[in-house]
Symmetry: C2
Subunit: 319 residues, 2 copies
DNA sequence: GGATATGGTGTTAACGGTAACAGGTTTAAG
DNA sequence: CTTAAACCTGTTACCGTTAACACCATATCC
């Protein structure tokens, strides 16, 4: 391993100058800078992360708290993790997963928290390092999330554009901001078109949505589209409709929300609000690193636009 | 942050003694040891990872290479990651994900590699730090994996025990050890019972298995069980059988392999060979840490027994 | 009883990097 | 032309930990 000293010798300067070229390049003459850069290249210099961490009192570790039960949303996370990890890797940060609320053994430079519920608020506030949430909140935490309202707006607009006369919203019965936002997108769009709204809510399990459709089958009118707050619920709706040999997408449309895995295995494949999970991971990481660099200053919020992934569960102009 | 020196002062010894209590306790008198332990507890001492890493020329980072396309096996990985991460965390190691073959920027103390294909052999061999594979291989790499042969043995035995007269194996057409092992478990069991074997192979996509069943439907005899090399294929088989309103599980049985997510969303839920993915992650990590501690010495292989998760896609004595 | 091992502890010098300060040179101002 | 400010670069000390060695007791041997 080549060190600062090696580079310094090769470039005929002191260690300190080399260090400055890396961290405060504006303080060094251009002439020296180029010769230092050359030396670094020739020797294939890579800074020693541990040494830097030691002197800066950093750990180069970011902890990712996954507070919700992973099994319920599992496929989701891999993309998030990949995004976070990729971005952190660029700055030589490493990731540590924390799934239980076990004690914070070993330090870290910051936290990314996902699946926060309102009850977690208290202990999150006590954390002594910068925190960024993945997922909307109405508190003062910095966060990244999909633009949930935009997502259901897009879904509802699309359903109407495809000519479905009734649009029913199948929501998740949790009192969390992301759900409110998704419902809001639906409501706003329906009101804009002066149409009546109808919202049903269930725990996020496919069989509940399925049972609902089964119980309501006789009252369902054709030409209805179900805009769902998750792919899970949409999956259940579709399964139930299939049981009655309903004509999807001509008589009934189904639109999910998430776009991770489940929409792919449904038959027909689900039209869904595709969240940019990977990019959200990248953004979370970026925001956290910025916050660390700026000594914990608030970084605000970042909402990324989802895309509507169109598949066989809704009518489609273009087919 | 309390340091070694703080502890040393409190216990009236030198830093070195404290360090020895941690790393070479056998070299320290019991009397001193206890007083050092007390001091550590009172001051809530946590070793500084960066300092330790610096002096030991370690990074405390493990890289996880995910070589296969994640989208195909996605739900799988979260459990693996959690297992690995949990175990690494205990020893203050952090994880770095590497999904593209991008350059090995920044060092690490070891690698865990998953999704290795035969073509990756060459560059893997060149890695300069200890490597442990997740997944069978017939080369000299240390690895952890499910006992694949045992898995299909269990599945096939179970199918026969439930009285299915024909058992057909639906395999994945890749030339990889895990597939050979799964086929072997099926073959051995059938031969043991002196029954004829039948193996079909497809790429690991549900629609291919689905199309196969559809094309063969007229020739399929009731009382047949399909033992599949993946839940994906099993899912396809089941979907096709459902299309014909076949009686699952009475006329046809379906058994998958993996037990991550997909088996849960199938209707009826899939009986499947449940891999202990989380534990495999833990084992991988443990093996790698042992290898690092022993300066890269081979650690052999570790095959964990899967369990048969019984659900509605097969007949069941107990129901 | 003096030489020789043995076990337990402290001292010193690194590991690779950076902040803070010191010192030298150039530029600008009066 | 002097003096102060601005600019660059080097020196020193330290971040927290450990290996290697030095040292001093005590136990062991002939």
């Amino acid at each position: 391993m080549t060190t600062l000293s090696d580079v310094a010798k090769k470039a005929n300067v002191s260690k300190m100058t080399v260090s400055r070229v890396i961290n405060h390049p504006e303080q060094v003459r251009d002439e020296l800078k180029t010769s230092v850069f050359n030396a670094m290249r020739e020797l294939d210099y890579r800074p020693n992360v541990a040494a830097k961490a030691l002197v800066n009192n950093r750990t180069q570790i970011i902890k990712l708290f996954i507070l919700e039960d992973m099994d319920t949303t599992e496929p989701y996370y891999m993309n998030l993790l990949t995004g976070i990890s990729k971005e952190l890797g660029k700055e030589q940060y490493a990731l540590q997963l924390v799934t239980e609320h076990h004690f914070d053994i070993g330090g870290c430079d910051g936290y990314i928290v996902t699946g926060m519920r309102h009850s977690d608020y208290e202990w999150l506030q006590r954390l002594e390092r910068p925190v960024v949430l993945f997922g909307e909140n109405r508190l003062e935490f910095d966060y990244c999330d999909t633009d949930n309202t935009l997502g259901t707006k897009m879904a509802t607009e699309y359903a109407l554009k495809q000519g479905y006369q009734q649009v029913i919203f199948i929501g998740i019965n949790v009192k969390e901001p992301f759900e409110y936002s998704r419902e809001a997108g639906y409501m706003m769009t329906m009101q804009k078109h002066q149409l009546p709204t109808e919202i049903k809510r269930f725990s996020n399990h496919s069989h509940l949505a399925m049972e609902y459709i089964q119980s309501q089958w006789s009252q369902l009118k054709p030409n209805t589209c179900f805009v769902c707050a998750s792919d899970r619920l949409a999956f259940g709706v579709e399964k139930a409709l299939n049981l009655f040999n309903a004509d999807i997408p001509n008589d009934f449309g189904v639109i999910g929300f998430d776009g991770v895995f489940l929409n792919q295995v449904a038959t027909p494949k689900l039209t869904t609000v595709q969240q940019p999970i990977f990019e959200l991971g990248v953004q979370c990481a970026r925001m956290l690193l910025a916050k660390i660099a700026k000594d914990g200053q608030p970084q605000g919020i970042e909402q990324l636009a989802p895309t509507l992934s169109i598949a066989g569960s809704t009518r489609n102009d273009n087919l």
